[in-house]
Symmetry: C2
Subunit: 261 residues, 2 copies
Amino acid sequence: MQHRVSDSLIDDFGDSGSEHSGPAGLRADLNQNGIPDIVIRRLPIYARSLKYLAGEGVETVSSGELGMRLGVSAAQIRRDLSYFGEFGKQGKGYNVAYLLEQVNGILQLDHDWPVALVGLGHLGRALLHYEGLSEHGFNISALFDHNPEKVGQQIGDLTIYGMSDMPDVLSSLNIQMAIMAVPARGAQEATDALVASGVSAILNYAPIIVQVPHNVKIRHIDPVVALQSMTYYIDDSAKGSRAGLVRNGNGSERVRSGKLD
Amino acid sequence: MQHRVSDSLIDDFGDSGSEHSGPAGLRADLNQNGIPDIVIRRLPIYARSLKYLAGEGVETVSSGELGMRLGVSAAQIRRDLSYFGEFGKQGKGYNVAYLLEQVNGILQLDHDWPVALVGLGHLGRALLHYEGLSEHGFNISALFDHNPEKVGQQIGDLTIYGMSDMPDVLSSLNIQMAIMAVPARGAQEATDALVASGVSAILNYAPIIVQVPHNVKIRHIDPVVALQSMTYYIDDSAKGSRAGLVRNGNGSERVRSGKLD
DNA sequence: CCGACTATGTGAATATTGTTACAATGTAAC
DNA sequence: GTTACATTGTAACAATATTCACATAGTCGG
């Protein structure tokens, strides 16, 4: 059976115009004459694979090999990297450690980032205990909740603050990123509070599109939307005849897709 | 302060070629002469807004109004819908209830979907208790875990099965979708098992790109990648001067972006 | 140090996606 | 029913993104 690399790697509902940069927050809107956001969104994927390869002790990787693993064409990887410089060597490929360092540098991942977490319901608490964030340098350093009963509670060494404390807390801790795990109805309000407090990047788990100024980046994570965009493709006629037709003893033949998604 | 609608609504690392359809699983690869995946990925967002409007008692909406809410141009909405038919009325707009029904029909959201959940660690359990899924017709109906100690455990009215039970369980329950909440190192193996059991859509929470056959759709959810693709834009020079410059009493002026993301 | 490979970086070609602009059609107030 | 206005659906166009293909430059085994 043919395999391909997964769709929908990068979560994108496209990108905004992002033309005029606000007084602060985002790097001078590079989309002006800068790098396409679609390229930026692929870099973390490259970085992740490079990190893995580095851990495996691999010293060198070609665009072809990397592309194979990620479901991206070799040309696309080379093109993406070429926006930032020349990192490879003809005949050899890329030095894994060096390229990783460069990509991390481009993404400003060469230092940790303190992150605010807004909303401490089930999801917020699950995120708080997710080690993946801190392992990658994102440290949840401030907690906020709208609910007065939660405000003041202690979780680990963090205190839950009220929304009105946000400007002070965030500016004193120099927090520029936030994860928003609040219900849809509270999301715009929470967003406005975050923006007013100087946050310039928000990861939104609320199932709603919130409005932000041009100088603030936001990405959405929504499992329902992801599932709903896959049901379209499911062929119900396969129902009865499904059993037994897929079994695929060897997981070898793989096919890469044209894009990541 | 200017506002725009959020970037990164749709999570996309692009889409695969998806040329030749497998024997079953996905609807005849519509990307052949069919509808772009990017369009399909926007439909759930439209549906969500329509559902909200319907709940508010709104009867009619124009492409302009809908676009404003979602950060999509009016033309894009009209164009997207035009792939499927003509749903609006000149001079009036779209009937909310009717359009919602149509979009739900296109996405096959007019009936519930049983979903398998693989991996019952922290994340898996959090997903199991997330009401949003069932509210939207995605019912977690079978649990699987690799860990023999968990196999046999009961959660609510569901039993945790071992991976080897997957083909029988999924085919007897006619499950075609799965959510995968396993560690990166187990993700490819779990994917292969799901595929071998006839699943044709997978929502992957593992921080790794897994390989799937052409006739299986997969989307990835990864907060770390999402965060890492935003740090690029953060302007560190704003650090000192941040406090007090954003405060924005009114949340009115909003700007929509060119694309959803 | 040669010859056969290998793989980069990129201009040019292509493919995909999004926007503009407008004819067609309907609304709605009177 | 006539007039002024609103909004769709889409053809033509523009912008973006991806791939092709190749000159260039390095590798590597003898």
